[in-house]
Symmetry: C2
Subunit: 497 residues, 2 copies
């Protein structure tokens, strides 16, 4: 297995790469991919050698072009293949002769449209030569640190107005890995995460998974120090047993959130016609994910929301959630969602209630604040009050996680409450998530500031509750497997929290 | 009842209003409210007379101040009361003597904190004098057309950086009415709708509802020509029978979407401690809403998403949804959510399938496009293809609504596809909703353009499906009650669709 990890490394950090089908025509995938490498090499981000392969060109973007990979000088670790399906087999034979380690086949036109024979031929050549293959019919790899960028979708697009806008963004460096069967959904995820200021370690789209599949990818990411949270999108899983075995090992060290659609009968039928995926009962997937400790998101938004929570906050050591709010209604919304998800929003201990009562008597909290759970600090809340109440909940040993609903509209609340709360949070090892409602400046500012200080902020009370649910589920899983302590040590060593 | 509607009009468009507790101190609610009226009067938006009432001032913001409403010259239609709770009863007695039509009591400190006696005294005075009361403990009214703005939360706030940012926005004119028991949630809703470019007709926060309650508000909005969709937030409903009767009449003319939290046991307990609301079984609410034809949202996001769909698109005449996508996975996500909500995503008719096949043969659609349902136009999609496929689905009589998933990342898709699709949509009376995934420029541009052309666009395939579900549920309700045709006529007369 170790050897396989080393070989997989060629996909993400090759010492040398050839782009077969590199082109000078800017609307060609082979152009965009080669240009990505060339640009990143010039910027000093990509440090390997790069070779365009195209028999019809002498040079591309200032790099000597070769008629075939056989002619590329020296050793070649990786080939990226962007030629029509029928030519791929010949390229693979050359790759075998050249003894490359790995090949990414971007080209489509294989099993996904019924061309099983062609895909099998490729598999045979690859297997015999010991070449690891990603794809075909995939978007390949994007690595935020090494400069490997096989996305053939240009980063920007020019509108008819003449404006150039970001269309397929490359996210900043971070610790979320995206592993996806669907290239289209994968780039949509990059777009989402970039806009949400969340960084990515690696992106890998494996398409038809003729060789490398999700299980092997997870195994590789197990060892990847830059990856702390894995977001996995799959439409089917063929090697069930291997998957559960590998994933079960990974999840004891890093969380995996999965989005697997085709949950309903009609959905499964649609998925089958999309990827030829053998549907299988959705319950089997549910059971497999549960067994492997994978968090299954019920929809796209929960998928991203859980990922965001897990990358920013430690998991919770239990199910008891304390809710802190300055608006009654949203507090109730959060309670509802917590209960639906199986979390406990129970009455605080007598000690905590007494502490709240003292603060109220001292005039440090509003006289009419409710202190059962949720704590409703009412529209009279100030920054100091949020700070005090947060501290109190963090100090209650029966509370395992905190949801803070700070609607910025309350008149006496100053923006500094965010920093005050974050400071309290930094002294404790329980998770906290936040919510402010609204879509104009102050709401965006509030959520952005929370995010920046490491407290994931959400658009709605229910989203915040679902995110907390992810932290609780993962915490309980780690606890059951006696690896919560180790995980937390690692988490706090890595983060500044 | 007609008389009561006329009297209610004083809340939204009074010929004269006194603000009792108006103040020169800028951090006082009485200042902000009076200033809102003064500013809107200067701008020519508010056309009535305005009077500050404050015994300690001679004038406020250039308007003569009066020691009591008794002293205000001429007739007085409306008083807005922003004085401490214990003084409200005297103000109400003056209001009775002055024969005002209506009073909004912003002041808190009544039944919500156990002061039932004080609230009862006010009710007695009001009832005897025939004064209609909104509140106490409410945020009152905001009317986007008449310039009535009782929100005491300033529109902007100055950050420590010195930047002035929008904090509690006043939305543009539109046709959504917000009727809310919680003021805090109400302003959060204004913030959300403003940021989403959705206009509002009226905002009314009724707080403790000592007199005017949700049922009466709905009755008033039944006659309000500017209101087309009602978003109702309630924590309890006391006059159940009256509510169902009134709401049932309203929903045959305009849709009502409700957000009622306290769905779970713990949620109901929290709601009770928040408003003293007698929880009641959530199932009773479910049944009441269903009986009245009210669409109940399961969470905040669905609440806004359904409202947006209903204000932009006609309801659907049946449950059959056609899904059109350029990305397989998101198509399956939409199918799943449709099925979960009880919508049908069934195989198209043979005729439609044949029409798709012809277009594929003619090279007008991608050779490998799937045309069962969803229609997956694949990553090769162009603007023309989306246009053709949309037209085809609109022309299939068995399809009642369309979900279009246009991920902008596909390389050959041009931005003009949005306008092409909108043009097709404008020729048909079926609803269509859209989705693009992502949070950076091109995704925001895409969704914004769809919204602008009257096709509500959403962040995720599931959100789009939930929005379509709102259109289907409402359409089926209208159909059952034989008022779909009339509603559609009215809808298309009002909109340019």
């Amino acid at each position: 297995m170790e050897q396989s990890v080393k070989q997989m490394h060629a996909f993400f950090n090759p010492r040398s790469v050839a782009v077969v089908g590199a082109s000078r025509r800017i609307n060609k995938a082979g152009h965009v991919i080669f240009k990505n490498f060339a640009d990143n090499k010039r910027r000093g981000v990509f440090e390997g050698e790069i070779y365009p392969v195209n028999p019809h060109e002498d040079s591309i973007l200032g790099f000597d072009s070769y008629p075939s990979i056989i002619k590329v000088p020296g050793e070649l670790e990786l080939v990226v293949i962007v030629v029509p399906a029928k030519h791929v087999i010949d390229v693979m034979k050359d790759a075998a002769a050249k003894r490359v380690e790995a090949a990414v086949i971007i080209s489509a036109g294989f099993s996904e449209i019924g061309n099983y024979e062609l895909e099998n031929q490729i598999k045979t050549v690859a297997k015999k030569a010991g070449i690891r293959v990603l794809g075909p019919n995939c978007l390949g790899v994007y690595d935020s640190r090494t400069g490997v960028d096989m996305l053939f979708l240009p980063e920007t697009r020019v509108l008819t107005t003449g404006d150039e806008v970001i269309a397929t963004p490359r996210p900043m460096r971070g610790s979320i890995a995206i592993v996806t069967q669907s290239g289209a959904f994968g780039v949509a995820a990059l777009d989402y995460l970039t806009g949400s200021q969340l960084g990515v370690s690696k992106f890998v789209s494996f398409g038809n998974k003729s060789d490398v599949d999700e299980a092997e990818m997870l195994h590789y990411l197990f060892y990847d120090e830059k990856t702390e949270v894995i977001l996995l999108y799959v439409e089917d899983i063929r090697s069930g047993r291997k998957f559960i075995e590998v994933a079960g090992r990974v999840t004891k060290k890093k969380p995996i959130v999965v989005l697997k659609c085709g949950r309903t009968k009609a959905g499964a039928r649609a998925a089958a016609s999309h990827t030829g995926a053998l549907a299988g009962s959705d319950r089997i997937y549910d059971a497999a994910f549960a067994q492997a400790g994978i968090l299954r998101a019920k929809d796209m938004e929960e998928f991203f929301d859980m990922g965001k929570a897990l990358v920013m906050q430690p998991p919770a050591a239990g199910k008891n959630v304390g809710i802190l709010t300055d608006a009654g209604g949203p507090g109730v919304m959060a309670v509802d969602e917590c209960e639906i998800k199986g979390l406990n929003v129970k009455r605080f201990s007598e000690e905590t209630i007494q502490r709240f009562e003292r603060l109220k008597k001292e005039g440090k909290l509003p006289k009419f604040a409710t202190n059962l759970n949720p704590v409703d600090l009412t529209g009279s809340v100030t920054s100091e009050m949020f700070e005090l109440a947060t501290k109190l909940l963090f100090e209650d040993h029966e509370i395992h996680g905190i949801i803070l609903l700070g609607l910025h509209h309350t008149p006496a609340l100053q923006e500094d409450y965010i920093d005050r709360v974050a400071k309290i949070a930094s002294k404790h090892d329980k998770p906290i998530v936040a919510c402010d409602i609204g879509e104009t400046e102050m709401a965006l500012h509030t959520r952005g500031r929370f995010d920046k200080l490491g407290i994931p902020a959400y658009f709605s009370p229910e989203d915040a509750a679902r995110a907390m649910n992810g932290l609780v589920r993962y915490g309980l899983y780690l606890k059951k497997n006696k690896c919560l302590k180790g995980y937390l040590e690692g988490f706090f060593k890595k983060s500044k929290k």
